[in-house]
Symmetry: C5
Subunit: 328 residues, 5 copies
């Protein structure tokens, strides 16, 4: 069987291959199993009276973080998150989660994870080093250390999202591009997905910090309250970031309106000056027969310069007008 | 009479045609009736003391899911949903619901449905196979199995809606079309209609999982909590999908602004280059009499090439200007 | 005096002209008075200890529906609503309300209405027919029947509003018109006005169904819960309809943008093709003196067809370009 | 000292210059002081044990309405409001508030106001006339009368704001003008400012009507509930008015889009008809030498009418096309 | 060691260098330490049993204001805020916060600050002057004085933000500029950041004013309620300011639409008048051979004036039309 149990005692760390031996040994027992191994899962379920529905909650990717009390233990479901490239296109990222289930008993802790164990390893190493010192604090403190690590990773993910938002904000100001709206939509989608994890996690941890759970020692409640505070901050940051994406979108959409406005001004200035002038030169291109009433200026010595100067004055006046309108 | 009762005992399944016999027989009695059959409805109402208002709630399409306690039983109204073509136009879909009423007594369960029984059949088959094993769990567990099936179907419906949203998102990026807004409006309408079902269903199931209902055994409460968790997820997904449709709408609306912008740029570039040039050639088309002040270049050998080159230089300068403005 | 009292007993209906006689007679006494008659109002106030503030609440059009407990009776204020033409302009409708006050005593019910009694009459007729059967149910059941009738009328009003919304939706797609925004604004205003009635009515009825009111028999609470359910649906529909008007507004506003876009495309295609061509023909209209460098093609035999064909090729290329851009 | 006390007894009104005498006299004592008079304020504070923080709350314009219980009395802070011209520009109005503090003791009432006493005077006159009749009702009833007057004035202010909104709505439809957005912004600012007063006032009065305050007699609670109802209506109206300003803003913004659309249609129709025609006449203005391939129609007898008719047909076809597009 | 303790007694102020001596001395002990000094922090933690997590909360910039009860004291975390230039660009400001931790014991107060002590100093000076008078009020009153100073500074910051908003509002009306959206986004970002501080601060102070904390004397609760009222106002103002920035953004965005509209009107008026006229003069520039059907007016004596007058009339009619449309 693939399950290895670690028992922390004031005297140090002991490892067992037998679940029963590990649990009956004095000290705090921690068993971690990958949820991908059904034999291990069954053995743990049987030994610790873990309900099948709880195991399914860990395995099912869609379940939201939660805390549930059972007769002999408390079940906490947390989610680790990471931002991964969705496809080759830059910026198209996706929040991916994997579940970590905690079953906190009187003097034992069972953890099950569906993803990589990177989030578990630092705590395991820390406890191996400090077994004698930490053994007294109970498995609820051990669970706290792992949860704290998970929530700390949330801040890393938020930092990544913030970097994306800042990249977008810069691009909006420097080089606006219709693709920006897609990127902003993607970031909003990430924030929504992340909120779906962080918000119930906040509730799940709040449950642990309220003093209602027998497996959480009074002295350790303040640690869970600390994790709760972090999650409140996480949820707050998510809202703030959503608001920032709205701001960027407004700025971008205005860039388009502004650009249309600038383009129209250019067209209007050029057309308004030259269309009347073209009419004037058209007039002098008409083939009216010579008559005292038909454009006598065509035959004057200074007729042409006079017309040209007249047109220049007209154009100048229009330019002054546009200048005053702030269009050029 | 059209009512058939099934009694599950540890010894197997028994079927009765008499309501009284079925209820007095030891074991868990399940009676399912189509709400379209008034005789059956009356017989059931009379036998089980089901209130006329509850039956009307099942029959009335507009009633929202709910849980109500009566003296001898608990009444739960759930809705099955499906997405059906509204008319021949692609995408025009509509959420259609039909009601399933549960009357959970001490050792009996009456279900009434207004729609097809597809959602009931798998559970019936499952219990026929496992009668001896399931009989102990009570009719509340039977009700849970059916409700769980109904809520599982909600996820199928959400998947269908998600497919529609993804189709729209793709179309927005590839081939924007004013009809997209109508489709998005339709999807939002579906989500609104679905939320009208899912949101009260969540409350109705929450009621069952809180331990206040005598007909729900303590050991079975966790199952209802599981259904509740699923419904929380459903409501969450509905909100997320609504947010995604807003994103798509923004992108589409911007496509229109952007297109207007591109169209204007083309017009402006062409007009700004050729309107002044047309003025210039108009000048040389004027019929001024020969005079030293009237366009002597008309009579120069290289007059024409000089004018043409001058215009080409002007056009080139404008093109460089537009290039710098990023308009071409 | 204008007050007529009806007493329902298991033996039938009796009518009294004297309040005291009516109340002291065995059976359930119902007195209805038009609030427009101050003598009747005073007599009722005095006889039943109805507080002046309550009567004023009925008379004052602005008061919201509510439930208030008094020492000897419970006061419920409900509103009947109807949609009436505001002025001659089609679509300009307005939600008009009139008040109905219920004073529910132990074995008496006083109702006062400020509007027409159409909403009271069917219940009066129903009770006249069924006096012997209904007499046992108490005046709270009588009040329920009238309130149920009022709330049923809310659905008729909502149907009317829905018809208006559907008419607008159709018009948006078929024949968009700036007036649509005004109509949508009107519909939203109606929904706001209606919500102002329905939302407190929901609270007022919820109060009656909670079992706190001595004048409401336990057996009758479920009826008020039913009315409450209907009002929850009403409020829900109002929100859904508001959301639909937003959707229609988005579609309409986009129609305008889209139309501007189409108009601009037409202009751009025509102008981009003909402005350069006009320049070309302008060139050949210039009066340059004959010179080997000045438009020798003017003197070629095939000069004209060559120029025309050249321009046709240019126009054709532009048309292909615009086709590819999807502008024509 | 500037403080004058009025004592209402069943025998009539008595006025005292001495606070102690007034309080020890049988009957209900009312003392009103302008908060601008520090001597009076100090005397009152000392005599009635009014806390310095409460006095500061009355003096400080920024404090929100509230109810606070002290050992010997209850302190209620209300605000009178009025809409005053902000500067010479029409529509630029501002909500101005001044505070009225109520200190309700067992048989005394101290009121302090920072503004004009117009809101106090009618109540004072009413009580002078009815002293014998009102004396029994207690100073809490007196406080209610004044508060009721203050809240009645809120409706006047809302009517003024409604008039402004209606004026804007009319202007939007008849003579849209960019200044409208500023006016709407102003109205929204007024509504925001007013909500800042009305919302906490609602809470403050709710506190008085809940039966927790010893200085408010049970029999008088219903009066405060009535004021509370009025304030609920006020807050409701504020929300409705905010929604109406949004509607007006949408209509105005669409007017601008619509106008741009109309302008573009005019331009497009004229340009699309005449630009091709100008090209045609430009063709016949080219100076090609006489050749059988160069515009022989120039030399036909009916060449000119044929060309003109051809152009008229082209223009007519375009007009029909635009008519069908609904552009003209 | 760097910690200096001040003890306030009815006899005056005493200063101690020894923590133990200071605490055992009769009177109220106040110790303030800069959080940047780890030795001091450790000494305080040890002496007063301050939990390491609380100290970390003070040091960690990201922690939100909060109140936490410990066995021997209550920990309150507050934040001082200031608006500082983010970079050289005008308007780019940022809300910066620094933490102040309060540890309120029975007769001692420990404060730790991470920023400058400007917010502490006035209270220190006030107490030095009034030691004998204030000593009775307890260290909770001392904590209140400092918190009150912190919250008063919030209003200064809000005034600064209001000034920025007013500057933007003026600029929007006088000299609209695309940069305005960035400034508005900045202001919204500041308000969001500030809300993140003010909102939990409100909760933290509410906790102190509810009478649950043994270290807060009943007589002093009203002071904390006063601070709470101020914080409610702060949060309210933040919402109001956010709403105002939305208003400014709408006005700005409309300025752009309006400007595009004005530009288009100019273009349309000029083009619509001169494009047809240019066509007319083009007609008379065609080289049709002399024929009775080919422009005989070219040879009339008054042909030219007639054509010119005709064009003037056409132009005049168009001008009248545009005038009526309100385009010029």
């Amino acid at each position: 069987m693939n399950v290895h149990a670690v028992v922390y005692t004031p005297d140090g760390v002991e490892r067992y291959d037998e679940l029963d031996a590990a649990v009956s040994a004095p000290g705090e027992t921690w068993i971690h199993a990958s949820a991908a191994d059904p034999t291990a899962m069954n053995a743990l379920s049987d030994r610790f009276g873990i309900h099948q529905l709880a195991v399914e909650d860990v395995l099912n990717e869609g379940t939201r973080p939660k805390t549930e009390e059972y007769e002999t233990h408390t079940f906490v479901l947390m989610k680790t998150t990471q931002l991964s490239q969705r496809d080759e296109i830059e910026f198209h990222k996706e929040v991916q989660t994997s579940s970590v289930g905690f079953f906190i008993g009187e003097d034992w802790l069972v953890t099950m994870s569906t993803g990589v164990d990177a989030v578990i390893d630092p705590t395991a190493a820390e406890w191996d080093r400090n077994a004698s010192r930490f053994a007294d604090r109970g498995t609820d403190f051990l669970a706290y250390r792992i949860m704290d690590g998970i929530v700390d990773d949330y801040f890393d993910l938020l930092d990544e999202i913030e970097d994306d938002i800042e990249a977008v904000e810069e691009q909006v100001l420097e080089e606006p591009d219709p693709q920006i709206l897609e990127v902003l939509n993607d970031v909003r989608r990430d924030l929504l997905a992340f909120r779906k994890t962080a918000w119930p996690a906040r509730e799940a941890i709040a449950y642990l910090s309220r003093g209602d759970i027998p497996q959480v020692a009074d002295a350790n409640e303040k640690y869970f309250r600390d994790v709760y505070d972090h999650l409140v901050q996480v949820v707050d940051l998510i809202e703030t970031y959503r608001d920032l994406t709205s701001g960027s979108r407004d700025i971008y959409l205005n860039t388009v309106s502004q650009s249309t406005n600038d383009v129209m001004k250019t067209l209007t200035v050029v057309a308004t000056i030259f269309i009347p002038l073209t009419f004037v030169v058209g007039v002098y291109g008409m083939n009216f027969a010579d008559s005292p009433f038909a454009m006598p200026e065509l035959y004057w010595t200074y007729g042409y310069p006079a017309v040209m100067i007249g047109m220049a004055i007209l154009a100048g006046m229009l330019l002054v007008h546009f200048r005053r309108q702030n269009w050029i």
